[in-house]
Assembly symmetry: C2
Homo-oligomer: 452 residues x 2
């Protein structure tokens, strides 16, 4: 790492790259753990560059002095935040400062065919903004450019050149950043388009055959209805959902807990390649090379919930990551659906819990999911056509007379009326109606049911 | 029939039994079809005896004259009802008048070990009163006396003797009616006790193995929790529910669409006998001997919904009788539950529809059903204990440090803090905590995960 152009102590980019928000956000995506609320609030208040400059200064001179130096220079002097919260955060970040190297991360992304996308850039998933201070600093996106990595890189080269000259670090990393910037706009557009009409299908890794079958069917149906399937790329329900989407040639988005260049789980490596080559995207908030950890998985769930238009839990144990995704979605006021299953299957216990608590709507097919996501307001889930039955559409009186009719030896109108509990007049008109309908016939004794 | 003491034209009992409401209600239960709102309103307004006297008079002299004769004699002269509604109803009833013979029906009930129970008598299921004008005129009850038919008849003989002397028809039918009255109080008490803590489990005749298994398990669990299982005695879910209750020695109530002396369906005849001999009850609103018809099945569903404290649909097609029972229960503001099932099973489509429409609560076991029925406010359905996992109960910081710990070669505290994204101080205290918990150990290089 010390050999790469981006190496060396923090002051380097604190000095000349303070205005490059994109680079600073790339740095923050490495410096702070996903969902770090202090970092998010700081970046929201001062901007990524300024808050990044604050860290090394705070480490050296203390928070107050650093604040004065950095924020004092800013319009509308903010008071330094009180309490130990920020000081501890700074201490936390300081430990990583030396290792953070946005250039190296951007280079790694580039060679992995990925781009770094920041808020406000064309196609940034606006849903993520609902996360407030917990929103990601940026997204590392692989694919999602429609034409795949190669194509976007080329188009990127053309479009990106102009922009990059304004960057303070075009000097030593121009070529790379040209492409990454140009490509980024590309990937961004692709990702935004994918997520515009999207549904997250999530569930347990320990899925049943039933659950995986339902996930595949729902994903396929969603793609047919023009929606994009979002999931976490895990074994079980996640993988089944991605596969179901791919099977229908749909673009699907995989939100990873680790770097986009790491195939985790390894067994889904080929699946992930297919996602990219099929116009889908692999997305992460941590830079390339980073490992997925338990806390990153939990934080990743908030991204799934925020990025997709609705979240559907296909199969989930009482306690599971899918449940946390559902609760994130509920907190974000996103529609949440749950697929019922056998009450004898613990793999559905979480879904039933959501239904029972009223935090999820019961969904059983793709049409109901589209309906849930409000993606097809007009084409609501239609009721399965009930099979026609003998005497359907008859008024109550006529159907009661029909009930009263003997199958073998006919009965007189008066007897029928008495048996059916209707008046003579009602019985007569009902019998006329039934005769027209070819349901009854006369015999020497009276009326009887026809051809039963 | 013409040979029985109760035979002959209507005027007989219109003459001397006009004050015997019980007898008149027995007559009405034969004269009007279940749920006949006009009959219900008339009986509610004039009483069973007076409205019964009205019918033959109205047939002979017209409604106005009959009304004057009957109601004019009553305190607080009601105006005759306008419109053809009552006139047509009278015409309807007139056709059955000659066949109606309450004595014969009471005798048939008696020989079938059944009693006739009317509103207000000890143990009348008060829930039925919520049906208003659609409430049954009375119930023909077999069993439900705790000790079964035999015992109740004996005790009935003793207790009934006094009451019957006041009856205007003790003369020719005294012996029979003694028993039927006495036994009735008995059976009533038993039925009321059974239904006081009851849940209806209903569902399709065309049930799946899954549905029947769930019905049996729920019924058994409800009996263990001290509740009585109510159902319709049909094949499939109904029968499974009754069996599940009987398997735990519980009393269960079968609400039949036909007479209590007819085993319908025939294949459940032995089941019905077991219900009676186990302290349960067979109940119908039509007199003995009557056939179940389609409209009587539909009306029977309203009785199930009204008699039970809550209704749970175990398995039901999109369109089915169980769905009508659920809707009756919802209209009566009774709690409604639905058991989820595989979305691939049409037998669960109705349950999922109820969940989706929000007209039912998702229930997956007996505890949740008891909770739904409000039968055990304190002992609420408890969450299945989630399996303990490594690092459970740790604070976020400690668990992140745990995540960052290497499995083989140990790592230094600072490196761990940086990897976990926590401060040095946080890492130190977390490591101390984890060491106490026996989760980590020191080696020459630093800290590592213990025995993983």
């Amino acid at each position: 790492m010390s050999g790469s152009p981006g190496s060396g102590p923090a002051p380097r980019w604190a000095a000349d790259d303070e205005h490059d928000e994109r680079l600073a956000r790339a740095a923050w995506s490495a410096l702070a753990e996903p969902g770090d609320p202090v970092a998010g609030a700081l970046v929201a208040a001062l901007g990524a560059g300024a808050s990044l400059r604050l860290v090394p200064l705070a480490v050296r001179d203390g928070l107050r002095a650093a604040w004065a130096a950095v924020v004092g220079a800013q319009p509308g002097d903010l008071p330094p935040p009180g309490g130990v919260r920020v000081e501890r955060a700074v201490e936390r970040w300081a430990l990583r400062l030396a290792q953070v190297d946005p250039w190296a991360d951007l280079a790694a992304a580039e060679s992995a065919g990925a781009r770094f996308l920041v808020p406000g850039e064309p196609g940034w998933p606006s849903g993520l903004d609902d996360l407030g201070p917990a929103a990601p600093f940026g997204l590392w996106v692989r694919g999602g450019a429609g034409g795949g990595a190669g194509g976007s890189t080329t188009s990127g080269r053309a479009g990106g050149a102009g922009e990059s000259t304004s960057s303070g670090w075009g000097r030593d990393a121009g070529g790379r950043t040209d492409r990454s910037e140009g490509g980024c706009a590309d990937a961004g557009a692709g990702l935004g388009e994918l997520l515009r009409r999207s549904v997250a299908l999530v569930g347990s890794r320990a899925a049943t055959t039933y659950g995986e079958r339902v996930a595949v069917d729902l994903a396929a149906g969603l793609v047919d209805a023009g929606a994009c399937v979002v999931s976490g790329g895990a074994y079980g329900i996640d993988a089944a959902a991605h596969r179901g989407a791919l099977a229908r040639g749909g673009g699907t988005v995989v939100l990873l807990a680790g770097g986009v260049d790491r195939s985790y789980p390894a067994g889904n490596a080929r699946l992930f390649e297919t996602v990219v080559s099929s116009g889908g995207a692999l997305v992460a908030e941590v830079p390339p090379g980073r490992l997925p950890t338990k806390s990153r998985f939990l934080q990743r769930n908030r991204l799934i919930a925020a990025a997709a238009g609705a979240t559907v839990v296909v199969e989930a144990a009482w306690r599971s990551g899918a449940m946390s995704t559902a609760h994130h979605a509920a907190r974000l006021l996103r529609p949440v659906g749950a697929v019922p299953g056998p009450v004898t299957s613990m793999a559905s216990a979480g879904c039933h819990r959501l239904l029972r608590e009223g935090s999820a709507v019961c969904v059983t097919d793709a049409a109901e999911v589209m309906d849930l996501a409000g993606l097809v307001g007009t084409d609501l889930a239609d009721e399965p056509a009930a099979e026609r039955r003998r005497g359907d559409g008859l008024d109550p009186v006529a159907s009661r007379v029909l009930e009263a009719l003997p199958r073998r030896r006919g009965a007189g109108t008066e007897a029928l009326a008495a048996r059916a509990g209707v008046t003579l007049g009602e019985a007569r008109s009902a019998l006329g109606l039934l005769e027209l309908g070819g349901l009854v016939e006369r015999d020497v004794w009276g009326w009887r049911l026809l051809g039963s």
